[in-house]
Every structure is written in C-alpha cells, then in structure tokens.
Amino acid sequence: MSSLLALLSKDLLLEWRERARSLSVLLFAVVTLLLFSFALGPDVETLREATPGVLVLALLLSSTLALNESFRLEREDRALEGLVMRPVSLTALFYAKASANALLLTFLGPVVVALAVVFYSLEIDVATMTRLVGLWCLGAAGLAAPGTLYAAMTSRLKSQDVALPLLLFPLVVPVLLASVKAMGLVLTGDAMNQLRSWLTLLLAFDIIYWSVCGLLFRFAVEEGE
C-alpha cells in the first residue's frame, strides 16, 4: 500500500513536471471536438445531438495518447526493470499507474465539457455539466484500467501507436456505449428513468476491469523487462 502511494505520487509528480506533455493530451481532446464540429457541419441541432458521442470519442482518442506516454517514461531508462528489482509489487505498480492515468484523463473532463458547451452552443446549467463531468470520469476510469494493462504490453513494441488502439478499442465498447447513453440521457432528459441503469452498467464494468486487469498485470510485465 505504501509503495502504491509512493508510485502514484511519483507518476503525478512526473506528470506535473512534464506539463507540456499532459497539455498536448488536452490539446488533442480539444482538436477532436473541433474536428467533429467541422465534420458534422454548422447545424447546431446536429452537433447537440452528437455531443455525447463526440465527448466519449475525445476521451477515447486522448486516452491512447496518454496511455502510450505513461509507459514511455518507464521504458526510457528501463526504470520499470528497476522497480521490478526493488522489488515492488506488480499489483501496486498497476493500481498506481492506472490511477495516475485515470486522474490525468479526469482532469481533462471539466475543460473538455466546458469547451463542448461553448463550441456546440449547449444550453445547460451547472448541475448538468457536473453530471457530464462525472460520467466522463467514470468513463475515464473504465478506459484507464484495461488501457494501462495493454499499454504495458504494447509499450515494448515498435508499433505501439497502432497496436494499443487496435487492441483497446473493441475491449472498451461496453464502457463507451454506457457512457454515451448516459451522457445522452443527461443532456436530452431522462423520461423513462434509464440513467440509473446505464450508470450501474458503467460502474459494474469499471469494477470488472479494475479487478480483472489488476490480476493480469503481473503477466503483462514480468522479469526480463
């Protein structure tokens, strides 16, 4: 537990030191928003309807960038091997890394949601925005756990930029689907009280991914790293 906190604070400190890099992740998310507004045309109505999907896609695309980065640090001077030698529990390593990634993506939430409100002229109040950000965070958590697991593997590969999205995207479909639906309900109103169900589904998948990926991480990185 103490090593988990030590690793997490290390990751966050490094993230802060390399602000420019975290910022590029944010920039990427913002560019995604812009691109979609070009793609879907100037029709405000269309943009509003597409907002949940666009938000989740922005999250998904920026997450691969962040995940690839997060293990580049560990591979640069083979620091991961040093951690394994110390020896640090790989389970602690996973949860620290996944939490750091989830936190980084979480911080994007308020900014991206606020920008979406401006770009897509959404007329929503602060409470709705907060709920959107909350859903963004749950989605981010659902991406971070399997993302960290797969990034640990693909970070060893030359083709990691292609490999990670290829493997990760289909995997997180349930999380994406639940996030999009829940965001849509938050935005357009929840006439039939479905929000709770989608939220439960999202939470359940967060839990499943965090526990299963935590168990598997030790096999994704091991000795010889």
């Binding site: 290829l166 995997l171 349930p174 994704a220």
Partner: protein
Amino acid sequence: MNIRKLLVLAGLGLAAVGTYFGLFVAPPERHMGDVQRIMYVHVPSAWIAMLLYTLAFGFAIALLWSGRQKWDDLMVGAIEVGVVLNALLLVQGSLWGRATWGVWWDWDVRLTTSLVMAILFAGVLVLRRMAPNEERRSQWSAVATVVAFIDVPLVYFCVRWWRSLHQIQSSPDTVDPAMVLPLRLNSFGLLFLALAWMLWRAAIERSSRRASEVPLPTRVAIEESAHA
C-alpha cells in the same frame, strides 16, 4: 486411429445426417419458411464459437497458472477456430437477418457484441504476431484472452438485458420437436469437427515450437541432410 481422425469422422457423420434432416425432413418454419433452416448452422456456430472461446479462456488460465507452453498451443487452436466460426456466425446471421428482419446489419446489442467478440479474439491473434519472444507471446496472448473473454457472457446475456432485435435464446420448449433433432445433430457434428481442428492446430503449433527450440547448428545439419 487417433482421436483427431475419430473426431473428424464422427463430426462429418453427424453433420451429414443433421444437414439431411435439417434440409429435407424438418418442416419449414411457420412464418419464416425455408429461410429458417439456416438456424441449423447458425445456432451451432454460435454455440461452438462461444464454447471454443470458453476453452481458450480455460487454457489461458492454465497457462498463467502453470507457465507451461502446451496450453499456449491449445489456446491458439481454440481461438483461431473460434474466430473462424464467429466470422461465419456473423455472415449467416446477416443473411438470416435480411430475410426475416429486413436488414443485413443492425447495430443491435447482440450483433454488436458478437462483432466485438470476433474483433477482440482476432486482436489476440494480432498481438501474438507482435510479441517480441515466445514467452512474452504466450503470456500476452493469455492475458488478452482473459480480458477478451469478458465479452462472451455479455454476448450471451445481452438479449435478456436489452430489448434487442435479436430474439432471446430458444430452448427445446420453444422449438418444434422436429427441428430440435437436426439442430442437435449439427451441433455435435460441428463440436467434433471444431475440436479436431483445434487439436490439429495445436499440434502444428507444438511442432513449430519444437522446431524453433532445436539449436541452430543441429537445425542446419538437419536441413543439409534433408537437401542431400
């Protein structure tokens, strides 16, 4: 006579009888007519594909637990055959869907999760090709298989969870007795064929692994003597 040949013979026999019954003996469905006969391959494909994925999941757990490479051979066999059946499943479903629902494809949960299932397990095979060495390869495939397997119960349950276009699972109670027989025969036939195929694939994997384990000078000597 080894077990694989036995399985193939039994599988071909059962499938032949099942197909005969399915095409010529079983009655056409009340509303769908002859199109419904695609069920006799569609449903077995789904069952056996999911069964193979479940086996692959079991092999993956065994591999991670014991670290023995032999599980990797079986795992890759199960996944490859599973992906092929899964692809067939999607094609058959698409044909059937066009005839009965009126569309080739729909982003219905059952269809979506089945497609995702195919992509996930195909992804495991892609990951295998990328792995830097043999030990990594087997461990990574096992990890990816376990994670991909999360989708399999989802495929099964989703028709109950959502109101989907795809009907929920049928049971002997909901199917005409005359249709159950060819369905059963074909299912067992396909099961035996798929198992044989999986074992064959595993044997190939094992041989190629052994071949790569032979030290290089010996290998050269063998190759030279083969050419001589």
